[in-house]
Subunit: 224 residues, 2 copies
């Protein structure tokens, strides 16, 4: 039984990872971030998921990425667009995964944890540079040199089990483990109760995933 830090956003990917780590019999330490994201209903979802999974501990760390700006997810001056568009989307948050994994690294060292799990996914979010396997490998190399525990012979493993999976595959894997996707929030413009807009990139990818998996979409959408 390993001790694992799981970055838990409250979205479907990290909910699936939490279920996988729990199913493997490991001890789960869930870490969420209040980073000024518009879709703060995510955090309520993360709390519910952590409670349901019976994690050993759930921490929510408040961080100031919103103060730095530069993203439609944290800066109210930039609108979240409907789905579509070329290149790296405006919903990209500068260095977000690097900041999140760094906090994961700090907590993992204090806990003497063996691994950090993150629901990073390269297929659907190919526009985000910090969702690619080569990025995760480089973070691992850096982490191997960064901490007292690593230097003493106990490096922490950075695990991204969903990195090569499609949304369909993620949903299928999660349903087999009993993940309740109605308790997850993906929408970039979700309201305070977690109801989804149905139109942003995150909603589109999620909808397509349920369709491809051939299961009913349990998402609550805003009535327009």
């Amino acid at each position: 039984m390993a001790k694992c830090v799981i970055l838990l956003s409250g979205g479907m990917d990290s909910a699936t990872v939490l279920a996988q780590v729990r199913d493997a019999g490991h001890q789960c330490y869930a870490l969420s971030f209040d980073y000024g994201q518009r879709h703060s209903a995510e955090l309520a979802a993360a709390q519910q998921l952590a409670d349901t999974a019976g994690v050993a501990e759930h921490r929510v760390i408040r961080i100031d990425l919103g103060q730095l700006g530069g993203s439609a997810l944290t800066d109210t001056q930039i609108s979240v667009p409907d789905s579509g568009g070329e290149g790296i989307p405006v919903t990209y948050v500068p260095a977000r995964n690097t900041v999140f994994l760094s906090y994961g690294l700090a907590w993992a060292e204090v806990l003497e944890a063996d691994a950090i799990y993150a629901g990073i996914n390269a297929i659907d979010y190919s526009g985000y540079p910090d969702c690619r396997p080569e990025y995760v490998q480089a973070f691992q190399q850096m982490a191997n040199l960064a901490t007292k525990r690593a230097v003493e012979g106990h490096p922490v493993e950075i695990c991204t089990p969903l990195i090569g999976m499609s949304k369909q595959q993620i949903i299928e894997a999660g349903l087999q483990l009993g993940v309740d996707y109605s308790a997850t929030v993906s929408c970039y413009r979700a309201d305070a109760n977690g109801a989804a807009c149905g139109h942003c990139d995150a909603c589109r990818l999620r909808k397509e995933g349920f369709t491809a998996a051939g299961v009913a979409d349990p998402t609550r959408y805003l009535v327009e």
Copy 2:
């Protein structure tokens, strides 16, 4: 003229780096962290140094490393020892430089900055894994893959000009640039006014530096 983010703790190393970057004619964006450190007089020193240098902007980001614990600098349950001791000291803060540089990376991307400067020093702090050149190189490799700007052909350079210098060399370089070291705070147990204990590792290294440089130590010490 380049745009540079400078991690400014308020200690003598980062004060020297700020003076170097300013002397080179670059635009300075100073970034400090309120991370629950005991020696918060550091932050007042950082503010004063930033004002004196006339930086383009100075941001103080409040971060929750103290909540994660594991260090004498942030956890009041662990005492800061007097100087001496073997191995990695209890004043080591888990993954601190990784978290700090990650925020630097985020702000550098928003600012479209060319470089991030940090007063990391390998000689005097050989006990800290995240102060070694191989760590900084690995962070650079990771940063080259982490951000939208890097992927678009504008990687940010991680610069640690003091990494191979002794405290004596740092003090000599700083004095040539007019750094007022009486305005810096190094002590791990400094009081609210920045007066130093004179006995912790940070004080000892600083004292030895002034002695080796053959200049008067301008530090204000606590009267015992």
